[in-house]
C-alpha cells in the first residue's frame, strides 16, 4: 500500500518538478505577460497566478488519485476471478463533488469580475493615440502634435494613455504583453485600450491576429521615456513632419522618399540591403530595383513600372512570389513621387 502511495506520488512529483524546472527558464526581457510594466498588466498577471495556482492544486490532487487508483486496484495475475463490489453510486459523494468545484468557480468568477472592474477606464483627460493596423505594419498618430510614426510607439512614463485602435484592411490585434492585454484592430470599428506604463524601457509589440502572409513580421517597439524626453521627442517629430510636408510640396525628393518607405511599413515585406528596418522576406528584394524594374514588364519603363506596382499591386506579381499579398497603401501623389524618386536611386 505504502509502495503504491510512493509510486504514484513520485510520478506526479517528478512531473511537477520537470514542469517547474522548465517554468523557471527565465522569460526573455520585454516580451511576457508575466513581467508586467503597468498596473493593468500586473492585475492580469496576478489573476493568472491565482488561476494557475487553483488549477495546479486540482491537477496534482486528481492526477495523484488517478495514478494511485490505477496502481492500487490492478488485478493481480493468477488471482481469483471474483467480481469486485458492484457499487452503482453514492448520492452524498456525488453532491459533494458537484458543489465543491462550483464553490471554487464562483470564487474565481467574483475575483475575475473585480479585476475587470479595476482595470477600468482612463481618466477623461488622458492622452489619446490613434493606432491603425494595416498589412503589415502599425501606424501611430499623436493627434495634438500631428506626429505619425510607423512601428515605433513612444510613451511618457507614469501617464495613462488611451489607444484608439482600428484597422484599414483586415483584422489585426494590438498586443504589448508587458503593458497589458491585447485588443483587436477591426476595420470599421474603433476599440479602446488603456494602460499606464510604470517604468522606462523598450518593450516588444506584436500583431496577434492572423492577417496574411506578413503577420509574423508585424512587429513594433514601445519605448517608454521620461516625460521631458518624450515632450522633446514629440516636438522634434512635429517639426520634422512640418518640414517633410514642405519638402514634398517642393517636388520629388529621394531623401524624403527613403523616410516614407520606412514610415509606410514597406520593410515588413521588402529588403533593402544596408537599410535598417528593411529586412522583410515576403516580397522581392529592392536593393537593385531601379536596374531590375525596366525589364519586368515589356513596354514599361522603370519609373512607370515602379509607380504601377505601388498604386496597383495586383496588376503584376514578380514570378516566384505570392500573388495578392501586397496591399494598396494609401498615399498622396506627392508622397508617391518622392518614393519613386528614392527607388530610382537603388541601382
Amino acid at each position: 500500500m505504502r509502495r503504491l502511495f510512493r509510486a504514484s506520488g513520485l510520478s506526479v512529483a517528478l512531473t511537477i518538478a520537470a514542469s517547474l524546472v522548465v517554468l523557471l527558464v527565465p522569460a526573455p526581457v520585454g516580451a511576457s505577460p508575466l513581467t508586467p510594466a503597468s498596473p493593468q498588466a500586473r492585475l492580469q498577471a496576478d489573476l493568472f497566478w491565482v488561476t494557475l495556482g487553483i488549477a495546479l492544486v486540482v491537477l496534482v490532487v486528481v492526477e495523484f488519485l488517478l495514478i494511485y487508483t490505477s496502481l492500487r486496484f490492478r488485478k493481480r495475475p493468477g488471482g481469483p476471478e471474483i467480481e469486485p463490489p458492484q457499487i452503482h453510486g453514492n448520492t452524498r459523494l456525488e453532491v459533494m463533488w458537484s458543489i465543491l468545484p462550483a464553490v471554487i468557480l464562483v470564487s474565481l468568477f467574483v475575483i475575475s469580475v473585480r479585476t475587470m472592474a479595476n482595470l477600468g477606464s482612463a481618466p477623461p483627460n488622458a492622452r489619446h493615440i490613434q493606432v491603425v493596423g494595416r498589412q503589415f505594419s502599425w501606424e501611430f498618430t499623436y493627434p495634438d502634435a500631428q506626429v505619425k510614426t510607423t512601428n515605433d510607439l513612444r510613451l511618457p512614463v507614469g501617464e495613462p494613455v488611451v489607444l484608439d485602435v482600428t484597422s484599414q484592411d483586415v483584422i489585426h490585434s494590438f498586443w504589448v504583453p508587458d503593458l497589458g492585454g491585447k485588443i483587436d484592430a477591426i476595420p470599421g470599428i474603433t476599440n479602446h485600450n488603456t494602460f499606464t506604463p510604470e517604468r522606462t524601457g523598450t518593450f516588444r509589440g506584436v500583431c496577434a491576429e492572423l492577417c496574411g502572409a506578413g503577420h509574423a513580421n508585424m512587429l513594433f517597439t514601445v519605448t517608454v521615456m521620461e516625460k521631458g524626453d518624450f515632450e522633446a521627442w514629440l516636438q522634434e517629430g512635429a517639426a520634422a513632419a512640418a518640414q517633410q510636408q514642405a519638402q514634398l510640396a517642393a517636388g520629388p525628393n529621394p531623401d524624403v522618399g527613403k523616410r516614407l518607405v520606412a514610415e509606410k511599413g514597406c520593410g515588413a515585406c521588402h529588403t533593402i540591403a544596408g537599410v535598417a528596418g528593411m529586412e522583410g522576406k515576403v516580397g522581392p528584394e529592392l536593393t537593385h530595383v531601379a536596374s531590375n524594374a525596366a525589364g519586368r514588364k515589356p513596354g514599361m519603363d522603370a519609373e512607370a513600372y515602379l509607380r504601377e506596382s505601388i498604386v496597383e499591386p495586383a496588376a503584376f506579381t514578380v514570378p516566384g512570389f505570392p500573388a495578392g499579398v501586397m496591399p494598396k497603401l494609401p498615399m498622396t501623389d506627392q508622397e508617391l513621387a518622392s518614393i519613386v524618386a528614392y527607388l530610382m536611386t537603388l541601382k
Binding site: 487508483t69 463490489p85 509574423a216
Partner: protein, 554 residues
C-alpha cells in the same frame, strides 16, 4: 462464482457469393459497413492532417531558415486544422463509431434511415477533396480554419473551394445527426429504456442534437462569406457599413458546440471501456448521462469566449465567462464519476483501459488550462498565443484521440473477429503519451512568453527556439506512434488471435452477437432489464449451470 458460456442464437455462416466485393462496399446501406467506410476514410485524413502538422512543426523549429514561404505556411496550418476537425475528429466519432455501434448497442437491425446514412458518408470524400484541391488551384484556404473576414474574403480561390467543402461536410453532419436522433429515440429494443441504454448511445444522442441545431449557423456564416467572395455581396464589407464581427458570432455559435461534438462521443467511449475493464458498473450512471446533456445545453451559451478581445461590452464578456465556468462543473462531475468507477475495481490494463486512463490524465490538463482562458482578463493576455494551442491539443489529442485509439483497440475484435497485439499497443501508448507531452506541454510556456499563434517564423532573440525544437521532436515521436498502430492494425487483420463474440467479458448488446456480426445483427434479442444486459444474461446462464451441476450430483 463460475460463469458458463452464454448461449447465443446461432448465426448462419455467410454464403460465399454474399461476401463483400468492391461494388458491395460502394453501394452498401448497412450501418456496419458505412461505419467502417467512415473509420477508414477519416483515419486516412488523420494521417494527411498529421503530415501537415509535421510540416508546421518543422517550420517553427527552423525560424532562421524556414522551409515554407509565409503564404504557403498559412495554407498548411489552415488545412491541418480543417482536416483534423472536419475530416477526422467529428466524422470518426459520430460517423465511424456512432454508425457502427449505435444500432448494435440498442439491439436494432440498422439505423432508421439506411440510405440517408449512406448519403451522409458519401458527402465526406468530395468535401475533403474540395478542401484539399485548393493547393492545385492557385492556393488553398489560408485564413485559418476560423476564416475571419475581411482576410478570408480576399483569399485565393482555394478559400471558395474550402467554403464549398465545409458546407458539404456540414450537410453530412446534419443528416447523420437526424438519423441518430430518430434511431435512438425510436428503435431501442424491448426493455431498453433511456436509462438502460449504453452511455455511448447517450453521448451520440446529445451529439446528434448539437449537430442538427448548431451546424445551420455555420452554414449561414459560410454562405454569406461565399456570396461576398463570388457574388459581390457586402455582408462582411466594412466599407459598406458591415460589422465584420458578425461573422465571428455566427461562426462560433456553431464552432463552440462543435467542440462538444468532438468530445462527447469520446466521453461515451470512456464510459463504455472503464466498467468493462474495472469489473464494476459505471459510478453514477444518471449523473454521467445528465451531465452529458447539461454540457450539450450549456455549450450553446459560451460561444463568445472565443471573442474576448474584439471589444465587446464587459457585461457581455462576464456572462460568457460565467457560462464557461458553469460548463466546467458537469465536466468535473464526469471525471470524478470515472475515477470512482476505477476505485475498488479489479483493473485489467489491456490496451483499451490504458488509453482510457491516458485520456483521463491528459484531458484533465486540457480542461484545467482551459479554465485559465475562461478568465476574461487573463484571456486578454493568453488569447491567440500558444497557450491556446496547448489547450486545444490536450483536449483533442490527449482527449478525443486517445479515446479514439482506446475505442479502436476495444472494438476492432468486434468488427474483424480478431484481436490486436497487446504488446504493440502498449508500446504505442507510451510512445504517444510521451510524444504528446513533449510536444504540447512546452506550448504553455511559449504562450506566457508571448509567442503568438499562426506565425510563420519569429525572431531568434525571443528565446522561443529551444521549446519549439522540443515540441517538434515530440511531434515526430507521436508520428512514430501512429506508425506503430498502422503496423499493428495490418498484422492483426491477418494474424490476430480469433476473438469470439465477447473477448472482453463486456456488458452491452454489441457483444451478444458474433464477431463480426451478421448483416442483420441479431436473430433475437432477449428483453433487457438493466444497463448491463450481457452481464445479466451471463450470470443467469451461470446460475442455471450451477443448478444443473447441483442437479446432476444427486
Amino acid at each position: 462464482m463460475a460463469t458458463a458460456e452464454l448461449a447465443r442464437p446461432t448465426t448462419a455462416a455467410v454464403p460465399a457469393k454474399a461476401r463483400s466485393g468492391l461494388w458491395d462496399w460502394l453501394t452498401t446501406v448497412d450501418h456496419k459497413k458505412i461505419g467502417i467506410l467512415y473509420l477508414v476514410t477519416t483515419f486516412v485524413f488523420f494521417l494527411l492532417g498529421g503530415i501537415a502538422a509535421l510540416l508546421v512543426r518543422l517550420q517553427l523549429a527552423l525560424p532562421g531558415s524556414p522551409p515554407l514561404s509565409p503564404a504557403l505556411y498559412n495554407q498548411v496550418f489552415t488545412i491541418h486544422a480543417s482536416i483534423m476537425l472536419f475530416l477526422y475528429v467529428i466524422p470518426i466519432l459520430s460517423g465511424g463509431f456512432g454508425n457502427y455501434l449505435v444500432p448494435l448497442m440498442i439491439g436494432a437491425r440498422d439505423m432508421a434511415f439506411p440510405k440517408l446514412n449512406a448519403l451522409s458518408y458519401w458527402l465526406v470524400p468530395p468535401g475533403g477533396l474540395l478542401i484539399l484541391s485548393g493547393f492545385f488551384f492557385g492556393g488553398a484556404a489560408d485564413a485559418g480554419w476560423t476564416a475571419y473576414p475581411p482576410l478570408s474574403v480576399r483569399g485565393p480561390f482555394g478559400q471558395t473551394l474550402w467554403l464549398l467543402g465545409v458546407i458539404i461536410l456540414g450537410t453530412s453532419s446534419i443528416l447523420g445527426g437526424l438519423n441518430f436522433l430518430v434511431t435512438i429515440l425510436n428503435m431501442r429494443t424491448a426493455g431498453m429504456t433511456l436509462h438502460r441504454m449504453p452511455l455511448f448511445v447517450w453521448s451520440i444522442l446529445v451529439t446528434a442534437f448539437l449537430q442538427v441545431a448548431a451546424t445551420p449557423a455555420l452554414a449561414g456564416a459560410l454562405i454569406m462569406q461565399l456570396l461576398d467572395r463570388e457574388f459581390g455581396t457586402h455582408f462582411f464589407d466594412p466599407a459598406a457599413g458591415a460589422n465584420v464581427v458578425g461573422y465571428q458570432h455566427g461562426f462560433w455559435f456553431y464552432s463552440h458546440p462543435a467542440v462538444y461534438i468532438m468530445i462527447l462521443p469520446a466521453f461515451g467511449i470512456i464510459s463504455e471501456i472503464l466498467p468493462v475493464f474495472a469489473g464494476k458498473p459505471i459510478f453514477g450512471y444518471r449523473a454521467v448521462a445528465y451531465s452529458t446533456a447539461a454540457i450539450g445545453f450549456f455549450g450553446f451559451l459560451v460561444w463568445a469566449h472565443h471573442m474576448f478581445t474584439v471589444g465587446m461590452p464587459l457585461v457581455a464578456q462576464s456572462f460568457f465567462m460565467a457560462m464557461t465556468m458553469v460548463i466546467a462543473i458537469p465536466t468535473g462531475v464526469k471525471m470524478f464519476n470515472w475515477l470512482a468507477t476505477l476505485w475498488g475495481g479489479q483493473l485489467e490494463f489491456k490496451a483499451p483501459l490504458l488509453y482510457a486512463v491516458g485520456f483521463l490524465t491528459m484531458f484533465l490538463i486540457g480542461g484545467l488550462n482551459g479554465v485559465a482562458t475562461a478568465v476574461v482578463p487573463v484571456d486578454w493576455q493568453l488569447h491567440d498565443t500558444y497557450w491556446v494551442v496547448a489547450h486545444i491539443h490536450y483536449v483533442l489529442f490527449g482527449g478525443s484521440t486517445f479515446a479514439i485509439f482506446g475505442g479502436l483497440y476495444y472494438w476492432f475484435p468486434k468488427m474483424t473477429g480478431r484481436m490486436m497485439s497487446e504488446a504493440l499497443a502498449k508500446v504505442q501508448f507510451w510512445v504517444m503519451l510521451i510524444g504528446l507531452n513533449l510536444t504540447f506541454f512546452p506550448m504553455h510556456l511559449l504562450g506566457v512568453m508571448g509567442m503568438q499563434r499562426r506565425i510563420a517564423s519569429y525572431p531568434v532573440e525571443t528565446g522561443f527556439v529551444p521549446l519549439n525544437v522540443l515540441a517538434t521532436t515530440g511531434a515526430f515521436l507521436m508520428g512514430f506512434g501512429v506508425l506503430i498502430f498502422i503496423v499493428n492494425f495490418f498484422r492483426s487483420l491477418r494474424h490476430g488471435e480469433p476473438a469470439g463474440p465477447d473477448p472482453w467479458k463486456a456488458n452491452t448488446l454489441e457483444w451478444y452477437t458474433s464477431s463480426p456480426p451478421p448483416e442483420y445483427n441479431f436473430r433475437h434479442v432477449p428483453r433487457v432489464t438493466s444497463e448491463r444486459p450481457l452481464r445479466d444474461w451471463r450470470l443467469q446462464a451461470a446460475g442455471r449451470a450451477a443448478v444443473a451441476a447441483g442437479a446432476e450430483r444427486h
